[in-house]
Structure formats: structure tokens, C-alpha cells
């Protein structure tokens, strides 16, 4: 694709519900990152995928958060039993090889938990 695509753009959910956020990386990019940005804050790393290697999950804030990447392409970030503090913009990025290659971001998914 032309760029990193994320869906939905906006999601409003009730506290306690599960949500799934989707990321389509740039075609051919083997590395994929998820970040979270709370209102007015910087970017917080969540998880990193590189090819067929085991993902780096060191940034996931709790076991309610999980992510998978099917076929080395599309990734889904799942948040179970959402809490109000999960409200944020979730950003996905991809790069050709990970380290030493330029990363490009999608437009983000704005999640609001009410």
C-alpha cells in the first residue's frame, strides 16, 4: 500500500468491553511497531514485530493488552476489559528491516473509553 493504514480512525467503547485495533503496514516492510500516545504526552512503546521472530512485548502495560501479526503483514492490537486510562491514540509504524531503516507511521486510532 501507499502508506501505513490503521482502522478504525476513532473508537468509542464502554468500560469493560474488548476492542481490536488494526494496522496494515507498508507492503514489504518486515518490522511493525505499536505505540500509545495519551493526550498531550509523548509516544509510549507497546510492542515490536520483526519478520518471523518472537515479538518484543516489553512495552505492554498489562496482560489486558495483546497483539498479533498474521502472515507477517497485518497486525491487530487487542485490549480486553477496557479501562478509562486506556483512552489514548494508538499509533502503528512500519519499517523495511527495523533497526537502521526509516519508520513510517499511520494516522492512528483514537480510543475513548466511557
Amino acid at each position: 500500500g501507499a502508506g501505513v493504514s490503521q482502522s478504525p480512525s476513532n473508537k468509542v467503547t464502554e468500560k469493560g468491553k474488548d476492542v481490536e485495533l488494526r494496522c496494515d503496514p507498508i507492503s514489504g516492510h518486515t518490522a511493525l511497531y505499536w505505540y500509545r500516545q495519551s493526550l498531550g504526552q509523548g509516544l509510549e512503546f507497546l510492542i515490536y514485530f520483526q519478520g518471523n521472530s518472537a515479538p518484543d512485548k516489553s512495552g505492554l502495560p498489562s496482560d489486558r493488552f495483546s497483539a498479533e501479526r498474521t502472515g507477517g503483514s497485518v497486525s491487530t492490537l487487542t485490549i480486553q476489559r477496557t479501562q478509562q486510562e486506556d483512552s489514548a491514540v494508538y499509533l502503528c509504524a512500519s519499517s523495511l528491516w527495523g533497526r537502521n531503516t526509516e519508520a513510517f507511521f499511520g494516522q492512528g486510532t483514537r480510543l475513548t473509553v466511557v
Binding site: 509523548g42 509516544l43 512503546f45 518484543d56 537502521n100 507511521f105 494516522q107
Partner: protein
């Protein structure tokens, strides 16, 4: 882990003024990128610059890897330059890009 510090945290300019944004990092890095986050939240790539100097129109960037800093220059600023500027680094010890806290730039007409 590696620390990334950006300065100043906030900057207000009159249209047409020049500015310099700074990014310091605490260890050797493999890679450094500058991004502009526009008011709609989109992160726009400005420079991929692990070392040396690059220019793109009114913007230029210099990274001095041996001294662990990078500078972003904005000349003849325009209101559309407003937003938050982030630098992000790759460190050998981390898989993720490590971001600074950003510089919030406001350009007034």
C-alpha cells in the same frame, strides 16, 4: 536505557522567524529520525539522519553522532509549521524507537 531529551519543550515564534530545536541522547545510536506531529495528530517524517547534515526546503537537520546530539533548523517559519516536533533514536539495546518528549512549536501570524 537510553535517554532522549529535547529542548526547548515549548517555543513560540512570529511568522518568518528562524528556530533551532535540539535533541540530546545519552548513548551511541544506530539511527535518528525527526518527525512533525501536525494538529491532527499525524506523524510526518522530516529526516532520517543518523549522522551528517540534510536539507529539505526551509528545514535542515544535523546529527553529530560522536557528541550525541541532533539539531533541527526551521527557517522563515510559517503558521503551518506549528505542532510538535519529535526526535526518535534506535539504540542497539532496544528494538523500539525511543522518543523524546517533543518540542511544541507555535508560529503566530
Amino acid at each position: 536505557g537510553i535517554q532522549v531529551e529535547q529542548s526547548p519543550p515549548d517555543l513560540i515564534l512570529q511568522e518568518g522567524a528562524n528556530s533551532t530545536l535540539r535533541c540530546n541522547f545519552s548513548d551511541s545510536v544506530n539511527n535518528l529520525q525527526w518527525f512533525h506531529q501536525n494538529p491532527w495528530g499525524q506523524l510526518i517524517n522530516l529526516f532520517y539522519i543518523p549522522s551528517g547534515t540534510k536539507q529539505n526546503g526551509r528545514l535542515s537537520a544535523t546529527t553529530v553522532a560522536t557528541e550525541r546530539y541532533s539539531l533541527l533548523y526551521i527557517s522563515s517559519s510559517q503558521t503551518t509549521d506549528s505542532g510538535v516536533y519529535f526526535c526518535a533514536v534506535d539504540h542497539y539495546n532496544n528494538n523500539d524507537m525511543r522518543f523524546g518528549a517533543g518540542t511544541r512549536l507555535t508560529v503566530k501570524p
